[in-house]
């Protein structure tokens, strides 16, 4: 299948973005500024990302809440209009089909954002499990998404919309917003560990808004950022990425997402399996590499002369300036301060279990 272009593809090429294929889309891994500068712009000022590859699915109907509570591990019973709530979506074995964010637009009307790489799988899964009176629709093709992230994000956004349109609470959204005259869902969410917004707009509006935002944010230090910085930012913030920290076989609790699994709910897909499995024997931890080398994903972790786990993501942290990784290790080795080794392409490199997240905004 040929890779798709987002509505912002031409903008990325014009700006000197290095284009790669990701989840079936042609997207910039970085611009000429480079991953480190892009990363630091988000930590200290502001960055703009094209995340139009993400999938959007609507669930509407009088049984929408009941259906979401059946489909997802989190509890959607009590929610305000405009509120967002994260959840893993499990299979009957307790593994994770995907992780996603559900927004309540209004009563019986929900908006779900899923990972690009999983959107076809998710849509099929959601449709196959429909219960009661609900209509499920994949509206991904009609939506583009821009993420404006960083401590200066609000200041920049204020110049293009009225202040009362900007949601004040983290994980809340305004479904009737306008930005620079274009209709937009303004959501105070992100995948960077910073304050910021995700703007859902029409594919036609996206390129105009992209330029407008970059132009408006020059003073604040806004620059476009690619997938490389998106990954290093989420890793520092210890935000899990599907296919790394979780997958069809890794349960939410193993991935450290137990707080998003509401076992007291009457039922949901995967509940029986999760009850049967009980306390996980392995958990996600953070590793700070203290030796020489950079741990990457899928590298074995050793302690006491044997393999005790495997890394799920790893990189050089641009903010902390040392290599960090997340790993799933045996329970006995998850205490902060535990000394381990990572097999970095045949070399054993020393690392230490540290508290997650690696980075937390002030």
């Amino acid at each position: 299948m040929e890779a798709k272009k987002t509505p912002l593809y031409d903008k990325h090429v014009q700006a000197g973005g290095k284009i790669v294929e990701f989840a079936g889309y042609l997207l910039p891994v970085q611009y000429q500024t480079g991953v480190i500068k892009e990363h630091m712009a988000v930590r200290t000022a502001c960055g703009l990302f094209d995340v139009s590859h993400m999938g959007e699915i609507t669930v509407k109907g009088k049984d929408a809440v009941r259906f979401l509570n059946h489909l997802l591990t989190n509890d959607y019973t009590v929610m305000e209009d405009g509120q967002a709530r994260y959840s893993p979506m499990c299979n009957p074995e307790g593994g994770v089909v995907d992780d996603l964010i559900v927004y309540k637009v209004k009563e019986d009307d929900y908006f779900i954002v899923v990972n690009a790489a999983n959107k076809d799988k998710d849509f099929a899964w959601i449709r196959a499990n429909v219960l009661g009176d609900v209509v499920v629709e994949d509206i991904s093709e009609s939506i583009a998404q821009l993420a404006l992230q960083g401590p200066k994000a609000e200041e920049i956004l204020k110049k293009l919309t009225s202040e009362d349109q900007i949601p004040t609470g983290y994980y809340t959204a305004n479904f009737n917003g306008t930005v620079a005259g274009y209709k937009a869902i303004i959501s105070r969410t992100g995948y960077t560990g910073e304050d910021g917004f995700e703007l859902y707009v029409s594919p036609e509006a996206a390129p105009v808004l992209w330029d407008k935002l970059l132009e408006t944010g020059v003073e604040e230090g806004l620059i476009p950022c690619g997938l490389g910085a998106r990954d290093t930012l989420r890793l520092e913030a210890a935000m899990p990425l599907y296919g790394h920290e979780m997958n069809d076989e890794i349960t939410p609790r193993t991935a450290g997402l137990g707080t998003f699994v509401k076992m007291q709910k009457e039922e949901f897909i995967g509940k029986e399996a999760l009850e049967r499995l009980g306390k996980p024997t392995c958990r996600r931890v953070g590793l700070k590499v203290t030796g020489k080398g950079i741990a990457r994903e899928h590298q074995d972790v050793y302690a006491d002369g044997r393999k005790i786990g495997v890394t799920t993501s790893g990189t050089h942290s641009p903010y902390l300036k040392y290599p960090i990784a997340m790993a799933i290790v045996e329970d006995a080795y998850r205490a902060v301060g535990t000394q381990v080794e990572v097999d970095v392409r045949g070399r054993r490199v020393a690392a230490e279990v540290v508290k997650l997240p690696f980075y937390k905004k002030a």
Binding site: Q30, H39, G228, D231, K292, R296, T315, H316, P318
Partner: protein, 125 residues
Amino acid sequence: MNFPKDLQYTRTHEWIRYQGDSAYIGITDYAQDQLGDLVFVNLPEEGDELMAGEPFADVESVKAVSDVNAPVTGVVEEVNEELADAPEAMNEDPYEAWFVKVGEISATVELMDAEAYEAFVAEEE
């Protein structure tokens, strides 16, 4: 993109600068541009033998690891330990950021002069 005339180049984007019977080796401007911000380098040790065309070091950008191949067969006489402490030098000044000085050179891979390498890179683009 910079292609100094006094160097020779490999198809895998390393440069070599001969000095008497020895030679300095590093990665090219094109290589560093393709790799992006470099944050780590794994260097061989003094006395290690290099095999022409075989990896002898690796460099890591924020995103990925890449092998660096030896343009020549020889023995490592000197290692640029400063590079390990400041890998960003490979981005800033790739032709000064040498990895190793090699002696006892007995074989080489196919090397290009600056002009040929520039044309080679243009084709890769």
